[in-house]
């Protein structure tokens, strides 16, 4: 250890590290009742952006609520989309 190291504030415990908290939240979203693997949680500095497409507004709201609870203290931004359910108005010709 150097003198400089001795004066450096201690590193935060791994459990408080945002990267690991985000990784564990992603596992929880996948393994939990939503079974959702299509949402990406991307740390941006101190905040986290949620992206992806889910089947329903309920799914989106549940994921956002869970993220805000688990990542308390960090701003959570949500760009999650809900899958479209309309019929197409034309087909693609494959010739």
């Amino acid at each position: 250890m150097t003198d400089r190291d001795a004066h450096r504030p201690p590193d935060p415990p791994a459990a408080e590290n945002l990267d690991y908290r985000v990784a564990h939240l992603a596992e929880r979203i996948a393994a939990g009742p939503l079974g959702e693997l299509g949402v990406r949680l991307v740390p941006h500095g101190d905040s986290v952006l949620l992206t992806g497409t889910v089947p329903s507004t309920e799914c989106r709201d549940e994921i956002l609520g869970l993220a805000r609870e688990v990542l308390a203290g960090h701003p959570v931004h949500c760009d999650i989309l809900v899958a479209g359910t309309s019929s197409p108005d034309h087909g693609e010709d494959l010739t």
Binding site: G35, E36, T85, P88, D93, L94, T95
Partner: protein, 247 residues
């Protein structure tokens, strides 16, 4: 012309009952068959499978499906398969089916497929038993697809389609993090497809991917994951087989 509707990754649960049925009821106007490219449920529970079954039951077009990894999560893929078959769907795993509409014979060969990655960036059958089994499992899925496609050769089809959940090519994964490509598909599927040369290959699984791609042998590939196509299904119009010239 043969019109093929397709969607994958609809991830249905009890709260999604009825969300796709209105669009599916328009199918007879625009399509001759509906392909479901796996991940039809969230966890593969019988309850979720019954939601899917009610969405597709008694549609006026034939339905052909493969399961996805989500449909295996609850360890009851056979029960999910049985529920979907009771609703009238053909559910394929290393199998082929021919459905007819207005006299056209539409052949579909299907498998869930699996991961492993793509040429030059793929897992090898080497090392720990679990690693070897990973690659062998993927190879068995691809072998099943090839056998099913070759079966279609004998069934006088107007078009032949390869239906998988995992991706056969990296083209349609564009948008996904490259680091996870080996979990999204395998070149072994593309090799099977290029050996049998069907008219179209359809897959899902890659929610952040891209719709359009092609195998190195020139077979068109379409990623129909619902988050990719943004609709209840997409339709691909394929030219049917040319009628034989009169003698």
């Amino acid at each position: 012309m043969i019109r093929v509707a397709a969607v994958g990754d609809i991830h249905m649960g009890p709260d999604s009952q009825g969300t796709l049925r209105p669009a599916f009821e328009t199918l007879p106007e625009c399509a001759d068959v509906l392909l479901l490219a796996g991940d039809l449920t969230r966890h593969g529970t019988p309850e979720e499978a019954r939601v899917v079954a009610r969405e597709i039951k008694d549609l006026a077009v034939p339905v052909v499906a493969v399961l996805g990894n989500h449909d295996h999560h609850d360890d009851h893929p056979e029960e999910v398969t049985a529920i979907l078959r009771d609703a009238g769907a053909h559910v394929l795993e290393g199998q082929a089916a021919v459905v007819t509409r207005d006299g056209a014979r539409i052949g579909v060969a299907g498998t869930k497929g699996f991961g492993g990655g793509f040429v030059g960036r793929c897992a090898g059958e080497f090392g720990e038993p679990i690693m070897k089994e990973f690659v062998r499992y993927s190879r068995r899925r691809a072998d099943g697809l090839l056998a099913a496609l070759q079966q279609l050769d004998e069934w006088n089809c107007d078009v032949r389609i390869a239906l998988t959940h995992f991706a056969p090519v990296p083209d349609t994964l564009a948008g996904e993090p490259p680091e996870i490509y080996p979990f999204l598909g395998s070149y072994l599927l593309a090799e099977a497809i290029d050996t049998a040369c069907p008219d179209l290959a359809v897959h899902g699984h890659a929610h952040a991917g891209t719709e359009h791609g092609m195998t190195s042998g020139g077979v068109r590939v379409r990623n129909v994951a619902q988050p990719v196509i943004g609709q209840a299904f997409h339709v691909y119009n394929l030219p049917g087989r040319e009628p034989a010239a009169p003698a």
